[in-house]
């Protein structure tokens, strides 16, 4: 497979996953905004959402006021924001258009339909579209792309690269969503364990479509420890860091078998996997959740680069 094709496939996975993350962040923001603002910490819940998406500066320059409508525009519709849902969908479809021959008709159809519908939405009167329409739509089109891949795409190297894109991006985004909640949303340690805190944790779980799963898996009170375990270390949770890294490791192993050579990316992912497999929630809290997450995000970025060096430059055999 052409290295460039593999790269485009990898980025289709990343952009679809990223679009979904933006929509989830919007959901967290909307629910949190319904909560009374006490404690004098952050003026506005939306600011933390912007901070976590890494686009607070660009937002301030273009929009100024941090109000829901502006955040929606910025995170959903804005073509100038490279991380908006619209930009991600456009980029995913553009990457798909470049490698059409490596995708089944059904997968291309899902990507192209998403793009056409997005353009339609951008032409629609804004008062006609609620935040829930936007987020539900995003989840649905992401599910359509995944579904089309699952039922129609050949299980070859291309399939692995798309899924590596999903895994790397999802690992990164779960870590970031957790980080927003723990590090940014809470101005002081005194809130940990309070009712306010629980409400926010619940919102986080909901935004990850994991509220019910969490109940099934743990039961009882929602505590920071349980949530951290669920979202970091539980291999049953489809969005946990361990699950993402495990899946990336599987795909890299499959590539190594298909190409009959091991890669630097495998070494990197195995290091991450070993650490997560041995870690306990206590270790993580001892290190500091924020510190742990920052390190994890850094490692995941290195994994992405290792994948690039191993497969996407095309010069080294």
């Amino acid at each position: 497979m052409l290295s460039r094709t593999a790269e485009n496939l990898f980025w289709i996975g990343r952009f679809i996953e990223r679009a979904e993350t933006r929509a989830r962040l919007l959901q967290v923001g909307a629910r949190n905004a319904l909560m009374p603002n006490i404690g004098g910490g952050y003026r506005n819940e939306w600011e933390s959402i912007l901070a976590s998406s890494g686009t607070a500066t660009a937002f301030a320059e273009k929009y100024g006021d941090v109000v829901q409508r502006n955040v929606e525009s910025h995170m959903f519709f804005d073509n100038d924001n490279p991380h908006s849902v619209a930009s991600c969908i456009t980029a995913a479809r553009e990457n798909g258009r470049i490698v059409r021959t490596a995708l089944t008709g059904q997968v291309w159809d899902a990507l192209n339909t998403a793009f056409q519908e997005m353009r339609e939405m951008q032409r629609t009167e804004r008062s006609q579209i609620s935040l829930h329409d936007m987020t539900d739509w995003t989840m649905r089109i992401a599910a359509q792309v995944r579904g089309a891949l699952a039922v129609s795409q050949l299980r070859n190297d291309g399939y692995r690269f798309i899924h590596l894109g999903f895994d790397v991006e999802r690992a990164d985004s779960t870590a970031r969503l957790l980080d927003v909640k723990y590090y940014v949303l809470l101005p002081g340690v005194s809130y940990v364990g309070s009712g306010l805190d629980n409400f926010q944790w619940t919102t986080l779980l909901r935004s990850l479509s994991s509220y019910r799963s969490f109940g099934w898996a743990y039961g009882g009170e929602i505590t920071a420890q349980k949530i951290a375990h669920f979202l970091i270390l539980n291999p049953k949770c489809p969005r946990s860091l361990l699950t993402c890294i495990l899946s990336a490791s599987d795909h890299l192993d499959a590539l190594a078998r298909a190409y009959d050579r091991t890669s630097e990316a495998q070494t990197q992912v195995r290091g991450q996997l070993a650490e997560l497999a041995e870690a306990s929630v206590e270790d993580i809290f001892d290190e500091g959740l924020h510190e742990f997450l920052t390190r994890f995000i850094q490692q995941t970025a290195e994994l992405s680069q290792a994948i690039h060096r191993s497969y996407l430059t095309g010069r080294t055999a």
Partner: protein, 477 residues
């Protein structure tokens, strides 16, 4: 609504002459007559939705607007009888052979010039004459592997060649997709009429490309398609052909030269490439040989090509054969190289480079079509009868300034084919581009791209100028 109106009697209507429906169209008469208006508009929007969903779109450079514009598709097919096609086929293949013989000759000994049958200046000082490939003999002596020949019809037996396209003629994806969509929407038409299939084209093209593997290639040749990239207006076609032929679609950045060969960068390391079907102009192929600022090409590619490490289709330099000034001499080429009489006629052409011709052209501008020698896509041309006097005067000044740059032809009475329009069905002018393949064998798929000028009375069929496309049928014997 009188949907079989023959229209202006000055133009040959392909569906009916003298109130009689011509035989090839017999199967379409009741179909079009009995189709209710609602069904028609339903089918039309269905076709449009299909095109958009498949992603067949066409971008026009520098026009802004919708980057995903569709070329309008007209559902009324254009039909050729078997016998009509057989004659066209012979003429097209003859022309493709002569053009390749010419290319081989002018980059070799130049016999046609030595024999005094063509002026040396016209060939060797031609902008499209590529000095960098003088003396190179491409595999099987083929320079132009896909020859697109633009034809117009003016009567039952009168066909004229408007121009030849020897480099990388585009549009073949429309020929294939138009057929797919028609078969999907009107299956009964294909049961009632015996229509020769065109779906063999991708297989034939792949065979053709594999048959021109370079000298140094051992075993099964690795064939790839080289595209300028996804911003190119024909990118859809490039992906379509790659898909249909099961070939890798590469960009310049995916290829590199190492030693005597050209390689592509893959997830498993470098892989040797033997034949490149390039959809990239000569000028951009190799920055070390042609334009040094090209980011789209592969540095060193021409060295590998020269030493027989890779084959290029079409071969660099092929452009000199489809130059509009050379065009006049194609009948002469057919006589000189093949010893045959041309089966298809050229349109009579005045070369403004000749003083006599130029004087005639300047006197008759209002009746003529004037074209730039190197122009394409319907840009930079004057259609005398359709122009205002100030447009004509402006063009007169341009010709006087640089006569070598222009040729002129009479305004041809292009045939018409019934076409769905807002008010019903009306005749609209059409042309035809068949795609002839030249490799070990010469092949022509029975069909081509019919372009239609959708504006009433217009003779310009280019998609960049508001033209549309039709499915083109050749009835089986």
């Amino acid at each position: 609504m009188d949907n079989t109106a023959p229209g202006d009697p000055n133009f040959f209507n392909e569906m009916q002459t003298g109130g009689q429906v011509r035989a090839p169209y017999a199967g379409l008469e009741s179909w079009s007559r009995d189709m209710p208006v609602e069904l028609r508009s339903l089918k039309q929007s269905e076709a449009e939705a299909l095109f958009r969903r498949i992603g067949i779109t066409f971008a026009v450079y520098g026009e802004g607007g919708d980057p995903d514009r569709l070329i309008p598709f007209d559902m009324f097919p254009r039909v050729f009888a078997f016998d009509e096609w057989r004659r066209l086929e012979r003429g097209i293949k003859q022309r493709a052979r002569a053009l390749n013989a010419f290319l081989c000759d002018v980059y070799g000994r130049g016999e046609i010039v030595r024999a005094g049958r063509m002026p040396a200046r016209l060939v060797y000082l031609n902008e499209a004459y590529e000095k960098a490939v003088v003396g190179i003999r491409p595999p099987r002596d083929v320079y132009s592997h896909i020859v697109g020949i633009d034809l117009v019809r003016t009567g039952p037996d009168e066909f004229f060649v408007l121009e030849d396209n020897c480099r990388t003629p585009s549009g073949v994806s429309y020929m294939l997709e138009n057929r797919e969509i028609m078969m999907r929407m009107f299956p009964q038409l294909f049961q009632q009429n015996r229509i020769a299939p065109v779906e063999t084209y991708p297989g034939a093209l792949k065979r053709t490309l594999a048959s021109v593997a370079p000298r140094k290639c051992e075993g099964e040749p690795k064939v790839v398609i080289l595209t300028p990239g996804h911003f190119n207006s024909a990118y859809y076609e490039h992906t379509f052909l790659a898909d249909q032929m099961g070939l890798e679609l590469v960009e310049g950045q995916d290829l590199f030269v190492d030693g005597d060969f050209c390689w592509m960068k893959t997830t498993q390391g470098p892989q040797k490439v033997d034949v490149i079907y390039r959809r990239l102009d000569d000028a951009f192929l190799d920055p070390l040989c042609f334009r040094p600022d090209s980011m789209l090409g592969v540095p060193g590619l021409m060295n590998v090509y020269r030493s027989g490490g890779v084959a290029l289709a079409s071969a660099p330099g092929a452009g000199v054969a489809d130059d509009k000034a050379i065009y006049t001499y194609v009948p002469e080429m057919i006589r000189f190289y093949l010893g045959e009489e041309p089966i298809l006629n050229n349109v009579p052409t005045w070369q403004c480079a000749r003083a006599d011709d130029c004087a005639y052209v300047l006197e008759h501008l209002a009746e003529l079509v004037v074209k730039e020698v190197h122009g394409s896509g319907g840009y930079g041309m004057l259609v005398g009868p359709a122009s205002t006097s100030s447009q004509i005067e402006a063009f007169r000044a341009k010709i006087a300034e640089d006569p070598d740059n222009y040729i002129a032809q009479p305004t041809l009475a292009l045939s018409t084919c019934p076409t769905f329009v807002d008010s019903g069905i009306a005749p609209r002018h059409v042309d035809l581009r068949p795609y002839c393949l030249v490799g070990r064998e010469i092949e022509l798929v029975p069909g081509g791209l019919t372009r239609v000028a959708l504006t009433e009375g217009s003779l310009v069929v280019n998609s960049s100028q508001g033209g549309g496309v039709k499915d083109t049928w050749v009835l089986a014997e």
